[in-house]
Symmetry: C2
Subunit: 306 residues, 2 copies
């Protein structure tokens, strides 16, 4: 297959552009109708040996993960997914069949989340790299949830379960795992919480971030951006099966949403998404992890100070 | 310098977001006010050993080139530059000083072209890799120039000179060049033809593409997208000093603009930009390069058939 044939095959796979995409792949740039007042954009890159290993991830896993991690940022803004622009660097010998498998997994996730793959670029490189720039659209900037909106008195919540992806990674590294192990699936195929993000935004979340670095570290990002302190109760962390609380606090790549909301929005938030309340925001700086009796807990790999 | 300090330094370098950027780097995604009816977006990637070599390019050259090649696609649409989203993969030992030099060169080109660097991502990787997604905005889709608008009877023109970048690359590979050799500068620091692109669009260009693969090959891209044939007169190619016509037809990376326009827009086009007329569009398919007497010329490295 020549490069031209490969690109033609990718375009065929992606199908005709739809919705707000007026001109899709094939011109100098894609053309999109701006049908929201604001556009949010994030770019993310995954690299073999750094963010995944081809030894334990199929090309489809990589395609899914590259788009999922980018879309997770759109979810954390509370925005509606828009378009994805994908740049792949393929190492010698990767093969067109693998590249098409990667693109097909991306297309499947895009279809399921209402995202259109509107443009891209394929080059060669020393290792597999996938960069994804993804947009989201909103009618007004006020509908979006930034990291900086947490206020003293707000509650802190998180969607889903924590620690599953990290446990899956440990199992993959230990070898001899089953492909249907839910923690392994969780690690290979993270799910961007698009619907939860939009619902939490509508329910009055004041600040939001996706849990990529670990809930303790991501809470610190929220605390710093908002100029507040956050207390997290270790015993309340929603644990994936078999994961200890201190591990779940530090493990990353779960791509759940960590958010804050005023107490009087508590019911609206609980109706919007499957959430667990973890703690509260107070005046100050930094993140403190607390045991059930309220005493601060020191965790290896996490510094309390902001 | 820790990664956090490095990112803080980059943000300081980039300054406060301006214009349509409501939220710049630091949140889950950038937020941009959609103040055009349509948004054009392109993503481009450059990799060490493939698109440049660190042996002959400074980090600043790489930063410039990565943004310039992305912006060149915005120029070829006739759009106004918008925002850039930059993802860097840095190899071990690249060093923060080099990374900041790369970002500073990008910032300088962004400033000069009215582009805002609104977001980004830094990861580690086995080789230096820079992926840039760039947007452009236009009031209406009709203001943009696609590859598909060339019609039989249109004239074919190109901005600037051709072959300089390829000659610069040959000199770099031969070693012992002066840094101020204009062909070497041209290769290391290509200039996106933003103003020319917008002016040509306003003057009635019907199709446009940037010359990245070589004017003969890029003419074929226009011919294929428009469903027409293109004749190019080899003797009319605007040659960089010391470059032969057959070389200038095939060498890429000049990032000039190749376009078509109806004959009755000839004067308007000539007033809009510094252009050279190269040939004409006719019904049919493919690109034919012709000598001064009209006979087709075969060039090694270029197939005539579409």
């Amino acid at each position: 297959m020549t490069e031209r044939e490969f690109i033609a095959r990718v375009r065929e796979l992606l199908g005709e552009p739809r919705g707000r995409v007026l001109v899709g792949p094939g011109d100098d740039a894609a053309v999109v109708r701006a049908d929201g007042a604001v556009c949010v954009t994030s770019i993310d890159t995954v690299v073999d040996g750094v963010h995944f290993e081809l030894a334990t991830h199929s090309p489809a896993d990589v395609g899914h993960k590259a788009l999922a991690t980018a879309l997770s940022d759109i979810a954390a803004m509370g925005a509606e997914p828009g378009e994805a622009y994908v740049s792949l660097a393929l190492p010698r010998g990767f093969g067109e069949a693998s590249a098409l498998e990667l693109v097909e997994a991306m297309r499947a996730l895009a279809g399921r989340t209402g995202t259109t793959i509107a443009g891209g670029d394929v080059v060669s490189g020393p290792a597999l790299y996938a960069s994804v720039a993804v947009t989201g659209w909103a009618a007004t900037a006020e509908q979006l949830v930034l990291r900086s909106g947490a206020r003293a008195g707000d509650l802190v919540g998180v969607t889903g379960e924590l620690g599953g992806s990290g446990e899956g990674l440990r199992r993959l590294r230990a070898g001899a795992v089953r492909d249907d192990d839910p923690h392994v699936v969780r690690h290979r195929r993270p799910e961007p919480r698009i619907d939860a993000g939009r619902a939490l935004a509508a329910a009055g979340a004041t600040a939001m971030i996706d849990v990529s670095d670990g809930v303790a570290t991501d809470a610190r990002h929220l605390a710093e951006a908002s100029g507040v302190a956050i207390d997290l109760d270790l015993d309340r962390l929603p644990l994936a099966a078999g994961v200890a609380p201190d591990q779940a606090a530090i493990d990353g790549d779960d791509y759940e949403l960590l958010f804050t909301a005023p107490p009087d929005h508590r019911e609206a938030v609980e109706q919007a998404a499957d959430v667990t309340w973890l703690g509260a925001v107070r005046a100050g700086a930094g993140v403190v992890l607390r045991a059930a009796d309220g005493t601060p807990v020191a965790l290896e790999g996490f510094e309390h100070s902001g």
